[in-house]
């Protein structure tokens, strides 16, 4: 249901190619699409309106550079302004205070406070070489204090021993006293989740703030949050004064418009991003990545990093060499299929790719999904070693055997073989042309290297379509697939 902004703008601007400066009418038309894209990305309505006004003003009269289309120009302006609004990427926990420095973690229920407390504490300990004490002030949620204690044990960060019958406020005071007495640099205070309209609970956390005078008060919020992000952020900011935001669950496929909303209403920086349940899944905030995501252009940088992480470079290079020599056998195809699965499956990949709207529709139409990838892998796995090396051996009776073994049909096997053949042919051609390089190869062509992304995202919006000579490995019905023989970054 979500079309990316580039798809939408493509439609708007198809009519007005080759024009000089952006005219008011064109900009207005484009901004209607930008507005929808932002709303679908969960940016709060008020924030969207303010943003559109600002960008409209800046865009009208802007010269369209010869090398880009008006649509791409508009996307660039939108993208740049989004980044500007999302703020700088260098903020980290401020420790300029007399130790023990108190850090207060607040937010709605289930947002990720306790987990983020442990993540930040671990980073302060391991990277910044601070002596950190964590204390859970959550006397509401069952086993909340036990949760923090276990996380402390896992990370080797000290936690305040529990005591019965204490209030949140008294635990906070006890934690600060222990911090002073035992020479801690930082005391992290994890609080119970609270809805921002519960006056009693908001008063409680305000009292805690007054008692400990935190150097940082961080709002921990879920990247999947909808329009409520503004209300919650505003209420917390008004009542207790925030100094930063921690955005959790950025490992999901939410577009993350909440980041923009919260940043806009509070003005405080996003200080860290949660990207998983494990303690080390904490990253710095990169506005350009989030901007790309909000616009539905995909997190290309993230994709490249993930690819580099999950795909063994040597394996990829071995495949590339074989492909160029035209020796790409079914075992190699299996290896490719498995790499796609490793990268979080098609869902994971697609979530990070730009211009996915059209391709997604085509793939759905062709019945391509993670299941079909698994079925293809199962087919190859049911073949003998000899058959994999030399698919020509597969006569009708062998095909029936393989179909039985993999729970598929002979037709599916024929499809797979045909596809393998086409891949081989492609590869040979490409070998002659000197091979595909970089990310372009991964995505089947058409993609510039990732660093160019923020500069001209619109150019990247087109994924190869059937017949254009690219595509995912092993996808039936998508014309002549390429593959990913080579990766640009080693890590």
């Amino acid at each position: 249901m979500f079309e990316s902004l580039s798809d939408r703008l493509g439609e708007v601007f198809d009519r007005l190619k080759r024009r000089g400066a952006l005219k008011e009418g064109d900009v207005a038309a484009a901004m209607r699409e930008v507005r929808i894209a932002l709303l679908e990305a969960d940016v709060a309505l008020d924030v969207v309106k303010g943003f559109i006004d600002k960008v409209t003003e800046r865009a009208i009269g802007e010269e369209v550079t010869r090398s880009v289309t008006p649509g791409q120009q508009v996307i660039k302006i939108v993208h740049d302004n989004l980044i500007e609004m999302l703020g700088s990427d260098s903020a980290w926990i401020e420790l300029n205070a007399v130790p023990p420095v108190p850090i207060l973690m607040v937010g709605l229920q289930g947002g990720g406070k306790t987990t983020s407390t442990a993540k930040i504490a671990a980073r302060l300990t391991n990277r910044d070489k601070k002596k950190v004490l964590m204390a859970s002030l959550d006397v509401t949620r069952p086993a909340a204090r036990e949760q923090l204690r276990v996380l402390g044990e896992q990370t080797g960060v000290a936690t305040l021993p529990m005591a019965q019958g204490e209030t949140a406020l008294s635990i906070a005071k006890r934690a600060m006293a222990a911090g002073r007495l035992q020479g801690y640099d930082v005391v992290m205070l994890d609080t119970a989740g609270r809805v921002s309209i519960d006056q009693g609970l908001m008063d409680e956390v305000r009292q805690i703030r007054d008692a400990v005078n935190p150097a940082e008060t961080l709002l921990v919020a879920d990247a999947m949050t909808g329009q409520d992000a503004v209300t919650t952020a505003r209420n917390f900011h008004d009542r207790i004064g925030l100094t930063g935001i921690v955005l959790t669950r950025m490992d999901g496929d939410a577009r993350g418009g909440a980041a923009l909303s919260m940043r806009a209403v509070t003005g405080v920086p996003i200080k860290a991003v949660g990207t998983g349940e494990k303690i080390d899944a904490l990253e710095d905030f990169h506005p350009e990545r989030v901007a790309g995501r909000i616009l539905g252009m995909g997190d290309v940088v993230g994709l490249v990093e993930k690819a580099a992480e999950t795909i063994e470079i040597e394996e990829a290079e071995r495949l590339a060499a074989k492909m160029q020599k035209g020796q790409f056998d079914l075992d190699d195809m299996l290896s490719q299929l498995q790499q796609v699965a490793k990268m979080g499956g098609l869902g994971g990949l697609m979530g990070m790719l730009p211009g996915i709207g059209k391709l997604k529709k085509q793939m759905d139409g062709a019945g391509v999904d993670d299941k079909s990838i698994k079925r293809q892998a199962a087919i190859i796995q049911s073949m003998t070693k000899k058959e994999r090396k030399n698919p020509k051996l597969l006569n009708a009776s062998r095909k029936r055997r393989v179909a039985g073994g993999s729970g598929t049909t002979p037709q599916e096997i024929n499809r797979l073989l045909k596809q393998h053949m086409e891949m081989g042919r492609m590869m040979k051609q490409m070998g002659k042309m000197g091979g595909m390089k970089g990310l372009g190869a991964l995505l089947g062509g058409g993609m510039p290297p990732p660093r160019e992304m923020p500069g001209g995202p619109g150019q990247n919006a087109q994924l190869p379509l059937p017949g254009s000579g690219g595509g995912f490995p092993g996808l039936p019905g998508l014309g002549r697939p390429g593959g990913f023989p080579r990766f640009p970054t080693k890590r």
Partner: protein, 314 residues
Amino acid sequence: MSAEQQEPERRGWFQRLKSGLSRTSDKLAGGITALFTKRKLDTKTLQQLEDLLIASDLGVATAAKLTANLAHEKFDKEVTDEEVREAFAADIARILEPVARTLKIDGANRPHVVLVCGVNGSGKTTTIGKLAQQWKAEGKTVWLAAGDTFRAAAIEQLQVWGERAGVPVIARPQGSDPAALAFDSLSQAREAGADVLVIDTAGRLQNRAELMDELAKIVRVIKKQVPDAPHDCLLVLDGTVGQNAHNQVKVFRKMVNVSGLIVTKLDGSARGGVVVALAEDFALPVHAVGVGEQPDDLRPFEARAFARGLMGLE
């Protein structure tokens, strides 16, 4: 905050839901009031109305559709704020009516197996605690299975809920295989002749293929023992969620055949409006809503009340 403090004031569930919802819809309703005293329904006003629906997470498409309906009936006519709200509420209630269905425990199943899944932190474990309490009070024998063997203290959390409700919790140490635990729990609950077995699962984001596979495996393993189990598979949605809810429902439904939804945290400032769009797109039953952290803070989902609450109507 805590049960102890709120216990004396036990208002009717409708009262509580309404006060929760009306707080959440203050802005929406207020916005509509500001737009109208009595004036002509023109294009500009319609745009503003559509915006207000979007601000409740109904989504661009559903908001446009509802606004178009209104325009069809009332364009260029003099309308009051009240009329507009009534019209929207009626439309929304019509969409929600078919999905407002309570969760039915089938006595023929011994036990009736309920698998509970969802993204991280949406309220799965708490909802299970509330359901256990409710079913226990109806005289059913309820067993819980601590299937979140991943998150720190997830098992202890469910055990506390089990104690509160006075029902047994089957658990294994952290790090155990959740599918094996589910299988064992089912045999134990069958042996004990329990009426209901509720299986908790670890939170997982729907784009994590390997975690979704793990969930599918839990279902497969359960089916080995009782082919038509789990009899219900509940997806718990956080009421503050935005448009990502669509992906959640889509993927979870595909992987484990979700039979119904529960929406939590509607006691906060979020409006849960995405439920309206979900009802249109997926038509999955919405069984209940969470309106707090206490055991009795689970209410049946009531289409008309929800719709009117969303519009700030009595």
